[in-house]
């Protein structure tokens, strides 16, 4: 056991900085991807209630498509496929767009559930007070929605963070790809992948606990 740990002591200087740099890349594509997913997801979530049947059908189609197709296939499609029609992305933007569009479908469902939990009277009171629709949404409705959906939003972020490792397969130099590079360099894949896994876990686990706590509190608040 000590021997096993000793390997880390000997290599920490070389591995640490490289994995830290790669972790920054992982965090960056995850956060940017999540921001895109949130914005697109909110628009889709609202559009599902649109009066136009065409809009609703298109949105439904988007959600069904992106929930039914693996994230990896979407990343390949964007990075390797789209250049075929003249749209060329660098690897990192491709990862952000792919993760963002894929998880937007997830976020749309989360927002839809949250918006559906707000009574009609809340909209009506805001509109009769003279708020414009955008003011109603941002001052009255979304602040309430955010409290309701905090837990599923965090769960979605954790899922996105883990799936950001797929970006390694379109050459983004994030944690998993850097781990693989180190593993081939040092012939110590067990040690290196444990380290890589631990870095994801150290972010994902506290967030999952937080989501659990928020979900419990939300249930308590309504009971």
């Amino acid at each position: 056991m000590l021997e096993f740990l000793d390997v880390y002591a000997r290599h920490a200087d070389q591995w640490g900085p490289r994995l830290a740099d790669a972790a920054v890349v992982s965090a960056r594509i995850s956060i940017l991807g999540f921001m895109l997913a949130t914005v697109v997801g909110l628009i889709l979530g609202l559009a599902q209630e649109a009066s136009s049947r065409i809009v609703r059908t298109v949105v439904r189609g988007y959600i069904v498509f992106f929930r039914g197709v693996p994230v990896l296939a979407i990343l390949f499609l964007i990075y390797f496929g789209l250049p075929g029609v003249g749209i060329v992305f660098d690897a990192e933007p491709a990862a952000v767009v792919g993760l963002g569009l894929a998880f937007a479908a997830q976020m749309a469902e989360v927002f839809r559930a949250g918006l559906g939990a707000i009574p009609r009277g809340q909209w009506e009171a805001a509109m009769s007070a003279g708020f414009r629709p955008a003011q109603t949404l941002f001052l009255i409705i979304l602040p309430q929605v955010v409290r309701i959906i905090a837990a599923p939003v965090i769960v979605t972020f954790v899922a996105l963070l883990k799936d950001s490792s797929l970006a390694s397969l379109i050459t983004v130099n994030e944690l998993v790809l850097e781990g693989r590079a180190l593993a081939t360099e040092y012939f110590l894949p067990l040690h290196i992948y444990i380290w890589v896994g631990a870095m994801y876990f150290l972010i994902a686990f506290p967030l999952s606990m937080l989501a659990k706590y928020l979900a419990k509190r939300a249930r308590g608040a309504r009971a």
């Binding site: 009506e124 309430q144 409290r147």
Partner: protein
Amino acid sequence: MSSLLSVQDLHKSYGNLEVLKGIGFDLSAGEKLALIGPSGSGKSTCLRCVNFLEKPTSGTILLGGDRVGAKAGERPMSNRELAPQRAQMGMVFQGFNLWPHLSVRENVATPVRKVQGESAPVARALAEEMLAKVRMDHKADAMPEQLSGGQQQRVAIARALAQRPKLMLFDEPTSALDPELVGEVLNVIHELADEGRTMLLVTHEIAFARDVADRVMFLYDGLIEEEGPAREVIERPQRDRTKAFLSRMHG
């Protein structure tokens, strides 16, 4: 003289169900009109059409001479275009509809800032003034969920008053309240009536309608069955349906 509110030939259908079959009335400044009638008679729908929470199928609403909800050439307004018109009408709902994430004071002050464009101190002062009027100033920092139904409804009235509306709309303001809380809300509405505010009121409280309103309109099946001075209609109804309804209400 021209009336403050004019409702002309108002129709509203949901699919094949015609809820309002041509309602018309005028309300001059300072006048109080109570809409009474059995459930399903269309009185709430009528009230909600006035500020376009329900879009009328046809008909005309004029507020201070201006067409509500439609622009030149009958083009219907969007919710965005309706906002300034709705701001001129203070609405009080059966279910209070306070915003649960905002304190009592913020419930009243937020529209003052965001709709009327007042500064935070002005909005705050106006909110305190309106809360004092409904005797809720001591709860300004409370959250809505900490209040009783009667207290919530009084805050909702303060919120509507803070809009400095031309017209107050009350949609069954006491129907969701426990019986012992009805009085405190009716008292507040009564005081507002005495201030000379223009009010359109849908209510099940017949005695209250008699005492507060100048006129009463009895709706039946989407039409005005009978209308006239409040005391007259309620104490000496002419039509059989009005008589039947009122005798049921008096138990």
